[in-house]
């Protein structure tokens, strides 16, 4: 009983034994090849390359080598004693990163050059700016003093009668025990006029919501859901429709709070200012730290308020208005204009938050690892940064920084992510696969 697919083809005995030997070799090769395929499925590698000699080959796989000010380095010239950056974004847990520099033959050599690594969300690694105070429209109380945050400033009600005559219910004022929390909003003029409302007062008129702007005009919220993405229901003063006779309504409706997740049709978008960013796919949504239950389904009218921006991918930066929370240090940060601004207390953070913040470890701001370049064969300089392959922390953005001693001219930069062939890694890969299959077929997993 020999395995022969072509029994009808006859061979003499010598040739047949020759065929059998080759056949065995073929099947053994096939078996080894299948083991190799299994190896790179269970222990994948991921490579990123940047060639300074052939820039057109870098599309879609760029490492963004850049200066401190963010300008891209395309000529391979790395000037001495200046901090340089490059980065990658990818999903998955890896055991080590191999960094390789190929210097130009005429260049100084990058031997012993130290490279540091940080891993987080790209926006969370922004430089820290001034702390931010309470959101406009928030009502605050401290030591029997009552305030409204109006136009970014803290405006004190001069007495309780004014609060009563304007119709602000005293129960909605958030009590602030620590007066330092009020220091993050500049002090504005006192509210003394019992008839005219200060800017940023919120009204509810015939089930529509409005906010008074600094020009004394009313901005209408596009919808109830848009209002609730910005403020709590109880902040709105209820008025009858005659109240609208006293004010003009602007043509610029207020939409959803910055950082809100909206869905229209089968797509999900992130709102920021008057723009929306379509999220590439469910994996990107999860890996950028968002939660499914924060998505608000919107109507065509609400959707048409925004201009569509380019796709939000794994390499994209969280847009302005995104709020991060670090559970390990209990701090909140808001992204704005290329900086992250601390929201110095939970009450300040709550004035901005109507959805879950994006969770990130405060430790991710620190250096995760580093290595020093050593000479390899063929004139390359490389080093390995070990990683914890059993821990896949939030944030898929890897930022590498280094400072060169001499001016360098680099021809090629290569980053290779590798996974060690170990039993725990195999188990992890199998577990991830099973979870993915379960998710694909809608099989629920009991959380421990």
């Amino acid at each position: 009983m020999s395995f022969d697919l072509t029994k009808e083809i006859k061979l003499d005995e010598k040739s047949y034994s020759q065929y059998r030997r080759w056949q065995l070799f073929f099947y053994l090769t096939g078996f080894v090849a299948s083991l190799y395929v299994a190896y790179f499925i269970f222990f994948p590698t991921q490579e990123f390359n940047f060639s300074f000699l052939m820039l057109t080959s870098n599309k879609g796989n760029a490492l963004n080598p850049r200066n401190f000010d963010g300008t891209l380095i395309t000529d391979g010239n790395f000037s001495a004693k200046q901090k340089k950056y490059f980065d990658t974004s990818l999903v998955g847990s890896f055991s080590k990163i191999k960094l390789s520099f190929t210097p130009n033959k005429q260049s100084a050599k990058p031997e012993n050059m130290h490279i540091d690594l940080r891993k987080s969300y790209r926006a969370f690694l922004y430089p820290e700016g001034e702390p931010v105070g309470f959101k406009n429209g928030t009502l605050l109380e401290n030591n029997h003093n009552f305030y409204l945050v109006s136009d970014g400033k803290l405006r004190k009600f001069s007495n309780l009668e004014i609060i009563a005559s304007l119709g602000f219910p005293q129960t909605v004022f958030v009590t602030i025990n620590n007066i330092t929390e009020l220091n993050y909003n500049l002090l504005g003029e006192e509210i003394t006029d019992p008839k005219n409302y200060p800017a940023d007062t919120i009204f509810k008129i015939a089930n529509f919501y409005y906010q008074l702007n600094s020009a004394g005009l009313l901005n209408k919220f596009i919808s109830t859901t848009a209002f609730h993405s910005q403020y709590d229901e109880k902040l709105a003063i209820t008025k009858d429709p005659n109240f609208l006779k006293n004010y003009s309504i602007t043509d610029n409706p207020i939409g959803f709070a910055d950082g809100t997740l909206i869905s229209y049709g089968t797509s999900v978008f992130i709102v920021s200012k008057n723009k929306i960013y379509p999220v590439g796919d469910p994996d990107i949504f999860i890996n950028q730290g968002y939660a499914w239950n924060d998505i608000i389904t919107v109507s065509g009218d609400e959707f048409s308020l925004y201009a569509k921006e380019k796709l939000f991918t794994l390499t994209s930066i969280h847009p302005d208005g995104t709020i991060f929370f670090t559970p390990d240090s209990a701090r909140w940060y808001q992204i704005k204009n290329g900086q992250k601004h601390e929201l110095p207390s939970e009450k300040i953070a709550n004035s901005w938050l109507q959805k879950n913040p994006i969770l990130v470890s405060a430790k991710s701001l620190a250096i995760l690892g580093g290595c020093e370049l050593q000479k390899e064969f063929f004139g390359n300089y490389s080093c390995l940064i070990p990683l914890n392959d059993q821990e896949d922390t939030a944030g898929k953005y890897y930022e590498f920084t280094f400072t060169t001693k001499d001016n360098l001219k680099i021809d090629n930069l290569n980053v290779l992510y590798e996974k060690n062939m170990t039993i725990p890694n195999l188990k992890l890969a199998l577990r991830t696969m099973i979870l993915k299959i379960k998710a694909r077929y809608g099989i629920q997993t009991n959380s421990q």
Partner: protein
């Protein structure tokens, strides 16, 4: 000398037989890839594209075709012919696999619509076979 050896009928026949084995391995690999991709999309094609596997199979078939012409008729034992029974044994699991793959590709759909489309595919397949081969 080497040229002579390569072009000897026995060497060509050995190659011809080996190409059947390699085609068999490629078909097995292609089938397993199809199943894996149906269950977990992107697992294999992120490393090896379908096009590469198909090109390898077509190339294998092309060389087989060329070598078949060069195989001397006296090397074919007419008493041993591939049995139709064997073919049926293979075809039935392949049909079942095809049906499962089609069903799986429409998993997001209503189950009855999915089954209805599967039935339509089976009827179309049968009619096509009937028109082309009967």
């Amino acid at each position: 000398m080497l040229n002579k050896k390569i072009h000897s009928p026995n060497t060509l026949t050995i190659c011809y037989k080996l190409l059947h084995d390699s085609l068999f391995m490629l078909i097995i690999f292609f089938t397993l890839t199809l199943i894996t991709e149906a269950v977990l999309p992107g697992t294999i094609i992120s490393h090896i594209g379908f096009s590469k596997i198909i090109i390898a199979m077509l190339l294998n078939i092309f060389i087989l075709k060329i070598l078949a012409k060069k195989t001397t008729p006296n090397q074919i034992d007419k008493n041993i012919c591939p049995k139709n029974n064997n073919l049926k044994k293979i075809i039935i699991p392949f049909y079942a696999l095809g049906a499962l793959l089609i069903f799986n590709s429409q998993l997001g759909m209503n189950i009855f619509l999915n089954l209805f489309l599967l039935l339509i595919c089976a009827i179309l397949g049968y009619l096509s076979y009937w028109v082309l081969f009967d």
